[in-house]
Chain length 129, copies 2
DNA sequence: CCTTTACTCTACCCTTAGGGGAAGGTGTAT
DNA sequence: ATACACCTTCCCCTAAGGGTAGAGTAAAGG
């Protein structure tokens, strides 16, 4: 099938599917006369796989890793779990940063009257020495 | 003072300070004969202000807004608070997304034995139709 | 057979907020 | 005069594609 159908079936944009071909993540045959990429069902399955992994916030490089484990029937579940736990720990670290940030900002906001006067503790904090 | 000193005083890199001059965020005079940018104490204060705002996760555009409010002695604290509350709400939304993500990943990981066998519920989920 | 329409191709620039480095000019101390 | 630190502009790089231009291709309708 052509790229448009592959994109539709995998719920990705044509641009994204083409990008994945360009970086070698999925390697469709290319019709010599027309130049059109030709996708098989198996490649569509890989596209779906990547799409899901991306939604789980895995980077393209991590998707590449996961995909090669997916294709390797001699993989160990240990390898997959390791990548997943690393991702979870990245998320935890980002969560902590964001929580701290939220607390600080919300503290600042709660101290600001939010009225028509120019006096503002938020700006004071930002311009504090 | 030259850019190196301004960078040191504001705890930013020279590259960053030059970038802020290029996008017109801080506008130092430029010595005609040498071409060197010349920073005043006031401009260093603005750089510090921007540096702090960036740490609070405000984008460059938001920093530009905050900076113009900082300079406008007729501003209202309402305006500043509005920007801050919007930022908090962005953060909240990101926090919720990340929490959901973490739950899903951690559910997947907990179902994975993480042993030497190829069978893996994480890959199963990613390749589920 | 011809035209329209839909689809596809490559190639280029754009996004954030700078980082890295080259090539070359400036300032100052020795 | 030379060494060294500092400064300049210019260009390419990041992640993951989005947008658009210009051109070729496929399939359907007349």
């Amino acid at each position: 099938m052509n790229i448009g159908k592959a994109a539709k079936l995998s719920n990705l944009t044509v641009k994204t599917v083409r990008y994945y071909a360009n970086i070698g993540l999925v390697k469709p045959e290319q019709n010599i006369s027309s130049g059109y990429r030709e996708y098989t069902d198996e490649e569509v399955a890989k596209l779906k796989f990547i799409g899901k992994a991306r939604k789980f916030d895995f980077s393209i490089d991590e998707c590449k890793e996961l995909l090669s484990l997916y294709e390797d029937k001699n993989r160990t579940s240990k390898e997959v779990k390791k990548i997943t736990l690393e991702k979870i720990s990245q998320i935890d670290s980002k969560l902590n940063d964001l929580k701290d940030l939220r607390n600080e900002l919300s503290f600042l906001a709660s101290n600001c009257h939010g009225d028509d006067k120019p006096n503002c503790p938020i700006l004071d904090e930002l311009s504090k020495n």
